[in-house]
Amino acid sequence: MNEIDPSVPLRAKRGEEKAFIEIVDFYYPRCLRFARNMLSNDQDAEEAVQDAFVRVHHSFPRFREDARFDPWLFRILANRCRTLLSRGRRHRALIEYGEVPITAAAPEEEYGADWAEEVRVVLDTLPAEQREAFLLRHVEDLSYEDIAALTGVRLSALRMRVKRACDTLRARLTEVEQHDR
């Protein structure tokens, strides 16, 4: 997994703005990807990411120097996404109103635009906690231990969430593929 040099968050914690800019540069795309996949809405995703980075900066005094930065950052970001989801604002608006797909062109070239859209539709039907666990595990490549630390959920429950998410995705997407043939 691609992590930032551990000295950078420590420098940011000491108040070095240049280090904080390095963190934003390094993590912004990953954070936005996670937020978009969680919220399915560009505007909400950007709001969540901005809020998360502002909170990260504000909370640096509480960041333990021996802790890893990735899980800490994603815990704050996941909390922001949950807050926005609980407000229920604009969720799924992007798909419902047929705006430009929020994933980049690469997967559509590889598997087709319909596939990318079907994945997103099925992902949106998952309960938020399953979607979050699936994305952290299979898209953000965090270990179960890291996810457990950042969500506060027991490992066994977490594995079950990911498994249920995978089962739903398999069932629904296999159905779609069979229907298309």
Binding site: I21, Y28, P29, N37, Q50, V119, H138, V139, R170, T174
Partner: protein, 204 residues
């Protein structure tokens, strides 16, 4: 491949994995928001001093402050019942909205008795510029008062300026030349006869 992935889950993960394109404007806004939050968390005893340092601080404002102090004195003496007249606000910008969506007025800390300047994050695109500053009626059009700093090597220019609530005219000083903000409404600056951009700052 991750341990518990089969071929279909691998395809799903790859479909969701492409990273969004780089967005230096969004990153600059994050930095501006961080600076604004840092700027709007003053120690309580500095709030009034900060307000008094604002360019808009005037004799009338000082009179209002004195009136507020007197009112507090009357309250502590049990004279509240005789003071029913509402206090006039310092700025009547209720319902105002920022003129520029990229120049967002951020509410300041709750200080209901004192109207004070609001930190406003500013971003401006000018990749080829060597220096950028924001000038306006809030800093007497002083090109040295509020320089912007570049985000990264080629990113947007950013700064946070403290502005009193209300309507303001401003422009950018780019390498010594005045440039209006292309994303904000324009208005004629009656003092100088040139176009300027409009910034509306809400009361905190």
């Amino acid at each position: 491949m991750i341990d518990d992935r089969d071929e279909l889950i691998e395809r799903v993960a790859r479909s969701l994995s492409p990273l969004p394109p780089n967005n230096s404007r969004a990153k600059a806004q994050i930095l501006a928001a961080v600076r604004a939050r840092r700027a709007r968390a003053p120690r309580p005893w500095t709030v009034v001093l900060d307000w008094m340092r604002q360019p808009a601080f005037s004799v009338a404002s000082a009179g209002l402050l004195a009136a507020a102090a007197l009112a507090i004195g009357f309250v502590t003496r049990g004279a509240l019942a005789t003071l029913n007249e509402p206090q006039a606000p310092l700025a009547s910008s209720a319902g105002a909205t920022p003129a520029n969506p990229n120049v967002t007025a951020i509410p300041a800390a709750n200080t209901p008795a004192v109207v004070r300047a609001v930190p406003v994050p500013i971003t401006f695109d000018s990749p080829g510029a060597k220096s950028v500053a924001i000038v306006g009626d809030f800093n007497d059009w002083d090109g040295t008062a509020a320089p912007l700093t570049r985000f990264g090597t080629n990113g947007p220019w950013t700064a946070t300026v403290k502005v009193m609530p209300g309507r303001h005219l401003y422009a950018f000083m780019v390498d010594g030349k005045l440039v209006v903000d292309p994303r904000a409404p324009h208005a004629r600056d009656l003092d100088y006869g040139t176009d300027a951009s409009v910034l509306m700052v809400n009361t905190p």
